[in-house]
Structure formats: C-alpha cells, structure tokens
C-alpha cells in the first residue's frame, strides 16, 4: 500500500531524512520509534503534504500513485489521514461543519455525490458515542477550548468519520494520561481492518501496549536503522537507543 524508497528531505537546506526506505502492506500496523530529532515528525508531515519540506530525492508511492505529486487535499482524497501531534484550533468553524466539508471534499475527489445531511449526522453521532466524546464537542469550534485528551480523541474521531486507508498517527500519545491513552488506542483498534494500514509514530513504547504493531521500525539520523517484531519496542524501552546507534556508527 505504502512504499517509500530512498526518501531524502530537507528543511531550510538541512537534511532531515537521508534515504529512508519503508514498506507498509495493507492491513498492517507499523510503528516508527526513534530518539528526538531523528525525523519521525518530518516523515509524518511529508506523507501528508505539509508545506515547508523539500524532497531532494527518492519516492513515495501509495497504491501505486506518486504521493509526492499530490496536494494535501488530494492525498486525503486518495485515503491518507494524518492525526496531528498538535491538533490545530480553528476559531469560528464548528467541528461538525468542518467534518462535513472534509467528507464532501473526499467524496468529490472520488467522484461521489455530497453526503445526505441526515445520514451524515447519524454517522457522526454514532461515532462520537463509540469514542466516548461528548456530543456537545461537535458544535464547538474545532479543537477550541478542548482539553489535551479531547483534542487527541477528536483526531481519532475525525479519522473514524473519514475512514482513511492509511492513517499516520504523529505522537498521538504525547500529553495523554493513561485513561485517555486507552480510549484513543481503543478508537484506533476499532478501526483496524484488513484494508487499512496504520503508521504509528511514537517516542514511547507505552502506546504499543495498546495498539499492538505488526512491525516496529527504528528511525535515527534520517534512516530506518532497524526493523523487527513487536518485541523490538520492549527491547528499546529497556535498553534505550544508544546500543543501536553505536552499532550503526
């Protein structure tokens, strides 16, 4: 589903990703771990098409399409979703209004008619309930006045409504207490599906106790330096990253 080959990315002339290779087949959950500054968030942003990053080499294909040639909205239309590390507050635009615009944007990209308003509201209400989100948050401006946990849950809620094929979770666990973490993870697990893949970017293995990955990758100095089964995350938790970095150096 997602194939990244030799990806090289710069920010302000400074190389951040230096030849990254990654293959995520459909239906799998891949975790990306790594020390601070290793390029984890850059990878998440580049996949979603955030401006400000210069791709200097390599390729990213999503279901065979050149992802890097698409605008952020086209990538969403193709089925890519990024759950932000810091979800953005948008004053004056209510949550459900934004979601409807998003869903219709995606449907338009796929040549589908706009969604029926009643049907949309029913879907949305069912999904708020499933994530334990208060319905009142639907009519509040996007993320404004939300607690940290509510913001992260709102990201997962948006994901559940937009039903992406590839969900990139950028440090979704940061700033969450253990209860909020469990709720967010349950939300993600409910969406696991043979046709849907997840790329879970995280600093701590704690999240992976709840969202169990198929493969764990270690990203350091802009490259994947090691990949392994779930147990790799536990080893990293116990031993840190230094032994790996030394082995590479």
């Amino acid at each position: 589903m997602l194939q990244i080959e030799n990806l090289q990315v710069e920010v302000d002339g400074k190389p951040i990703l230096r030849g990254l290779n990654l293959d995520v087949p459909a239906g799998q959950v891949h975790a990306i771990m790594g020390p601070n500054g290793s390029g984890k968030s850059t990878l998440a942003h580049v996949l979603a098409g955030k401006p400000g990053y210069t791709v200097t080499g390599g390729s990213v294909h999503f279901n065979g399409r050149d992802l890097l040639a698409l605008s952020p909205e086209e990538r969403a239309g193709e089925g890519v979703f990024l759950a932000f590390q810091y979800p953005v507050e948008i004053p004056g635009v209510n949550n459900v209004y934004m979601l409807k615009a998003a869903l219709n944007g995606i449907r338009k990209h796929r040549g589908l008619p706009e969604i029926n308003a009643v049907e949309f509201l029913q879907q949305v209400k069912a999904k708020t309930a499933a994530l334990g989100l208060k319905e009142s948050l639907l009519n509040r401006p996007v993320n404004q006045g939300f607690s940290g946990g509510e913001k992260k849950r709102n990201e997962i809620f948006q994901m559940s409504v937009l039903e992406p094929q590839l969900a990139v979770l950028d440090e979704t666990d940061s700033g969450l207490d253990i209860d909020a973490l469990r709720i967010v993870a349950e939300g993600v697990n409910q969406l696991r599906d043979p046709a849907r893949s997840f790329l879970v970017v995280t600093h701590y293995q704690r999240l992976l106790d709840y969202i169990v990955p198929d493969v764990v990758h270690v990203l350091a100095q802009g490259r994947i330096i090691k990949s392994g089964p779930r147990e790799l995350a536990l080893e990293l938790e116990a031993r840190g990253y230094d032994w790996l970095l030394q082995a590479v150096a």
């Binding site: 004053p91 615009a101 944007g105």
Partner: protein, 431 residues
C-alpha cells in the same frame, strides 16, 4: 468635478423651509473649510481625493444583493436614489407608541421633532460631512418610540442607489428617539446596484432614553464605484443599552464615524463591526466612545478583512472622563490580510482620566494561519474552500452577535463565498 458646486446646485437649502438659516450657515462653513486632508489626524489614512474624482460606471460592481432583507414582511421605508419608493415601503404594522415618518413629512408637519439633531449638526464644531448632511438632507426617516413602546421586528430603512440616478449625491438622514424603557431594532441599509456611482453622505442620530434598548444594524453594501461617507451618533442615557453593528462591504471609498456618548450611569454600548475591503476599495471606521458618566460599560469588537489591493482603517478612541469612575471598557480590533498587496491600519487610542476603571484593548493584523490551512487541507478540503472556511471562522465572533436572523444568514452566505475571489498573483521582487 467640483463637489461643492454640484451639491449646492442639487441641494441648495430652500429659504422658505424650516431651519433655512441654520442650514445655509452650515453649508457656507463647509464650503469655506473645504475637504479635510490627510494632515488631519482623523483623515490620516483616508485621502478624500476620490470624492472629487470621476467614477467609472462601467466598472462599478454590485455587492451580493441584500434585497431579500426587504422581503421579511416587517415595517420598512425604502428610498431609491434619495426618493421615497412608496410602493415598497410599508408602515402599516407598527405597534402602539411607535411612530415612523419620512424626514420630508416631518419637515412639513413638525420640524421641531428634529430640532435637537439639527442644532447639533449645524453647530460650528460639527464634523464636516455630518454638517453637510444636516445642511442639505431632503429625506430620510424619523423614528420615535414613546415610553415603554416596543418594536421587536426590525424596522428596515433602506437607501438604494442605482445607475439611473440623476443626482450625484444622496444625503440620507435618520433620526431615532427611543423613549424611556422602549425597545427598538433597526436596520439601516445602504445598497448600490451595478453601475451606481453615487456619493452617499449618510447621517444617523440615535438618542436612547433611560432604560431603553436599541439594536442598530448598519449594512453598507454600496457598489464598488460609489463613495459612501457616514456619521453615526449614539446618545445613551441612564441604564440604556445600545448595540450598533457596522457591516461594511461596499464603495471604492467608504468611511464611517461613530460617536457613542455614555451620558448617565448604567449606560452600556456595544460596537460590533465587520468590514471587507476588496480590490480597489478603501474602508475606514473611526469610532469614539465617550465614557462621560460613572458606572458605564462599553464593548467594542471590530474585525477587518482586506484582499486584492484593498485597504482598511480602524481607529478606536475611548475617552474616560475624570468623573467616570467604575467604568468598564473593552476594545478589540482584529484584522486579516488576504493578499500581499492588502493593507489594514488599526489604531486603538485610550485616553483615561479616571483611576478606578477596567479597560482592556487589543489590536492585531495578521494573515491566514498556514498551519490551520494545512490542517483543513489534510482533511480533504480544497485550498480555496479551506481559505473561505478560515475567513468565515474569523468573522463568526462578530456575525454571531447579529440577532436579526435574515441579516445573519446573508452575512454567512456572503462571507462563505467571499474568499473565492481569486487572489492576485504573488509579486516577485527581483533581488
């Protein structure tokens, strides 16, 4: 073009009519003074040269039409090119204690009903355009509410301008007297059809007596070839509350001066504003809130948008006099530039002479937040729509304060469509 000659020719005060002497003297003073120049603080950012320049009717575009607001079935007075359109006006449903007359009728029947306003604006220190209006206005509306009277459904006073106008100037005058404990909602509408090149000089004077409630909406949607200069005065008595919403979208040159006078304890004023200056437009608001009495409150929120090479100006003066203890004043001016060529100047001016007061103010000029734009796009919303959504969101704080639903809906539609206007190409400066 000599604007004063045109004005004097079209609107020479009739020597036999009421207030002839006052009006002639006011017009002479205006003529002797001449137009203000940018050297004067109040006109620093607004050059009045277009006032004297020729307009291009072919390029005068209309704003989205607000004429549906004249179909709500409520009481209304409609003027077209300065003349009453009786067929579209309807005052049959006015409740007891509410009296609405045209200015021309009042001048014929009961000139004393506007004596205070006439004295105020023909005085030597009156602002030049207010004086000009008072000297020359032929028609408009006089609204009087007896003590305790209530007009819940908004009264619409509409001044429509067309390309067929034979006169250059229109001089709408609206005088409102809200008696003690009365309640009034009023929409003052200025609209220009495509091709209109009118010079509007509008004056509105609202006097709110003890305990009264006034909701005043002012929608300025002149055509893009028009010049619109307005003056609004709010006199706010004991325990009275006046909210005035200025929604300004039209004109190549548009200016509104608001003077709110809190003259007795318990008075409260809300100034709520939204302006949008597109390509070729200059929209200027100058507001002045005078806390002349203790225990008075003011809330002011202005939001400005400028696109193309549009230019916006906001100057917010708040004066707290020495005797005005225990007052609260809050002012905010937030502005958004939608193109690299747009400009907005905002200038809060607080003058505080009392020591036991609560005052707060804030002013910002910014651009659409790139992170927010990316957030929306990453959800599948196309860039143009995402921009429109952010602009719409930016204005909501002002729009939500508009209680008159048809107007609020019109605003929402107009604003949702507004950022679709293509932005000019980014100018590359060769190094």
């Amino acid at each position: 073009m000599d604007w004063l000659a045109a004005l004097s020719r079209e609107f020479a005060p009739d020597a036999a009519a009421p207030y002839a002497e006052l009006r002639q003297a006011a017009l002479r003073r205006v003529g002797a003074r001449g137009l203000p120049t940018p050297r004067e603080e109040a006109w620093k950012y607004t050059d009045l040269k277009p006032y004297d320049g020729a307009a291009d009717a072919a390029r005068s575009q209309a704003q989205p039409s607000p004429l549906a607001l004249l179909e709500t079935g409520g009481p209304q007075l409609v003027f077209v090119d300065g003349v009453l359109d009786a067929a579209r006006s309807s005052l049959s449903a006015l409740p007891a204690g509410v009296r609405v007359r045209t200015l021309s009728q009042v001048l014929r029947e009961e000139p004393d009903a506007i004596a205070q306003a006439m004295a105020r604006y023909t005085a030597e220190d009156a602002q030049i355009f207010a004086a000009l209006n008072a000297a020359c206005a032929r028609d408009g509306a006089v609204v009087e509410l007896a003590a305790g009277a209530t007009l819940a459904q908004p009264l619409v006073v509409a001044f429509l301008n067309t390309a067929a106008a034979t006169r250059l100037f229109t001089l709408p005058l609206v005088v409102v007297k809200a008696g003690a404990q009365s309640a009034l909602s009023l929409l003052e509408l200025h609209y220009g059809a495509a091709g209109a090149t009118n010079h509007s000089n509008a004056l509105c004077d609202i006097e709110a007596d003890t305990g009264s409630r006034v909701e005043h909406y002012r929608l300025q949607a002149e055509a893009s070839g028009a010049v619109h200069i307005g003056n609004l005065r709010l006199g706010i008595g004991r325990d009275a509350r006046v909210a005035s919403h200025s929604l300004a979208f039209g004109g190549r040159l548009a200016r509104l001066d608001i003077n709110a006078e809190l003259t007795a304890p318990g008075g409260e004023v809300v100034l709520n504003g939204l302006f949008q200056a597109g390509a070729g437009q200059h929209i200027d608001h100058q507001t002045r809130i005078d806390h002349a009495a203790p225990h008075t409150t003011s809330h002011e929120l202005y939001k400005g948008l400028a696109g193309g090479d549009g230019r916006g100006v906001f100057r917010g003066q708040v004066l707290v006099r020495k005797r005005a203890q225990k007052i609260a004043a809050r002012q905010a001016s937030h502005n958004l530039l939608l193109s690299p060529l747009a400009e907005i100047d905002t200038k809060p001016e607080l003058e505080i002479y009392a020591d036991d007061v609560t005052c707060a103010h804030g002013a910002t000029v910014g651009q659409l937040d790139d992170t927010a734009l990316f957030y929306l796009r990453s959800r599948g919303i196309a860039e143009a729509e995402a921009r429109a959504l952010l602009v719409f969101g930016f204005t909501q704080e002002v729009v939500e304060q508009v209680a008159f639903e048809p107007l609020r809906n019109w605003l929402a539609e107009t604003l949702a469509g507004s950022a679709d206007v293509p932005l000019p190409e980014r100018v590359e400066v060769a190094s």
